[in-house]
Symmetry: C2
Subunit: 356 residues, 2 copies
């Protein structure tokens, strides 16, 4: 089955809202696990990767939570399908580059996803809209407990779960939340915010994880350390920091509106004006402008629109989602035209900003 | 009388159209003259300047063509009024800086204007919309002939009319046309165009004359030499070059529309989108964007609008015209807000671009 036919329409998936949806786009908890007696994927030969994959994949598929799931070996997916999954944040950029001996298994509602033979034998994640890291943790912990009964995890009493990269050793957990912080950006407070969060031993990254830009003023906050701290503590700590960031962002927006409303109106207005009138637009520019339109919607400056309309465009205007819309293979230039056409068309349903 | 109360509303003056108005905004012929026995203004003492001004000013005022004219000593004008006249291209930037001992005399329809004691004792110009340099020349030649009977011009049989700057010696004529060349700019042909025109011994300058930027893709083409060529020949030669430039610009627009229509639609759309939604905008950005809106109107991409609507905004959004609208003195930042407000309001009367 084609990935796209399986996935829910983007409009449905963005319509699901979680707590603090104004600022927190999504929460995610990811666990890394490896099997005893199998070399790590990066060191394994192809037949060894196929062997570990064959051990793991049926065990995941048979879990109740994965009933009716999509399960595919990476060599059976087209490049465009893999990139599409990456744009939905179901798999990593690294996993999108994998072929035979690696696989992906996920639920249709995108709430649970397992990458097999990415950097580790198992990378399982729970994804939820809004700030729900605790719920994500509970859910993925349950899956992990079920799998642990069936699979022989590589575990050291001293180091905890063993992982391909030592930075994941121990709990091998990554707890993260995706935040939309245009207010802090406009108020020129984003640098100091990133610094403070980093000092709390949390990492701040761009939209597509490590090494990527903060396109659309979207930041991923996650734990750095996996040793010496229990999972619930990490979840608790990250939640607290995210709640603080939400407050900072709300304060920045409020203060800007009070002190320099024209700066906000100007950014939102210009973004709206360009998106609804451009005929050529690159994905990065589109994201950065959509970010201001989302801010306008959240601040009530663009009235009577639900921010899911904008969130849908964030996803739909990405290169591989666009590509999927078109019949033939598109060049980057052709995508820039198609993206602009889509945005002009969709922006017709979003009324212009109305300051005051 | 206040300059602004005397001047016709901008909407009226932009409504007057001349030949080739699509591309040629205006034509101008300027003559420089000096009086025998009076030092040039730059070398004259204040009382000497007042003396020459007193000789010249009544002679200009009494001409039939100047009946009901505005005539004022520069020290009687506020800085804002002087700058407003500069923005209307009635006086030079240099003349706007003059005070006692200098004066300006002009007709209400702005077609004739005399600067007294700018760089020369007399700088008289005829201004007309569209390509009408020949008509301008005829008109200013008539004025010159009438004044020559009353004033003792400094004239050398060998060098012709004597002027403060040797580059004006001889005919002391400057024939110029103001051209809107966004097509050549978009097609990346403006550099080579400027080069070819320069090789023909014509100068190409920006909107406000020597040393100024080509804001809004507006270029002033004028003769360089005033020696060894008779006035009608200069007028004829410049007209031919301007006609060629018009053809080049039309060709560039046509070719762009044929080969890269999206590039045109994109520029026009974005310009329209920003102008109709910005809340802060600098005069330079406004001019450059208005230029693309004017192109859209001229190419029929923005339907059912007369380009005078855009031409009015070109003038009205300039700093001193804006300042005049406001009650108190505005800072540059305040002008950027007021300009954006005016543009948003006026753009409501201009329908969005409709490519194809």
């Amino acid at each position: 089955m084609n990935v796209v036919d399986f996935l829910l329409p983007v409009s449905e998936s963005v319509a699901r809202k979680g707590p603090h949806a104004r600022i927190v786009l999504s929460s995610r908890v990811r666990l890394a696990r490896n099997l005893q007696g199998h070399p790590f994927p990066g060191r394994a030969k192809k037949n060894e990767r196929v062997a570990s994959m064959s051990d793991i994949r049926p065990r995941v598929e048979e879990l109740t939570a994965f009933k009716g799931c999509f399960s595919q070996s990476m060599d059976q997916l087209k490049a465009q399908e893999k990139n599409l999954l990456m744009e939905r944040h179901l798999i990593s950029r690294e996993h999108a580059a994998k072929s035979s001996g690696s696989a992906v298994v996920f639920r249709q509602d995108e709430s649970l996803c397992v990458m097999i033979n990415e950097e580790d034998h198992l990378r399982m994640q729970s994804l939820r809209p809004g700030l729900q890291v605790k719920e994500c943790w509970k859910e993925i912990d349950k899956i992990d407990t079920q799998l642990e009964k069936k699979l022989d995890y590589a575990f050291s009493p001293k180091f905890g779960y063993l992982t391909a990269c030592p930075t994941n050793l121990g709990t091998a957990i990554r707890v993260s939340a995706m935040l939309h912080l245009p207010g802090l950006q406009l108020a020129d407070l984003i640098g100091q915010t990133v610094n403070s969060v980093t000092k709390l031993n949390l990492a701040v990254r761009g939209l597509y994880g490590e090494g990527s830009d903060a396109l659309g003023h979207i930041y991923q906050v996650s734990n750095q350390m996996t040793l010496g701290e229990k999972e619930p503590e990490i979840v608790e700590r990250l939640t607290k920091v995210v709640l603080q960031l939400i407050e900072n962002e709300e304060n920045a927006r409020e203060k800007l509106l009070e002190d320099q409303p024209k700066i906000i109106f100007n950014q939102i207005g210009r973004a709206y004006g360009i998106l609804s009138n451009a005929h050529i637009i690159h994905s990065k520019e589109a994201m950065n402008l959509l970010s201001f339109v989302r801010l306008g919607v959240e601040m009530g400056i663009i009235p009577e629109v639900d921010c899911s309309v904008v969130d849908e465009l964030f996803i739909m205007t990405q290169p591989n989602h666009l590509q999927h819309q078109a019949a033939g293979k598109l060049s980057a230039e052709e995508r820039d035209l198609l993206r602009a056409d889509m945005l002009r068309e969709k922006l017709k349903n979003i009324p212009p900003p109305e300051p005051q």
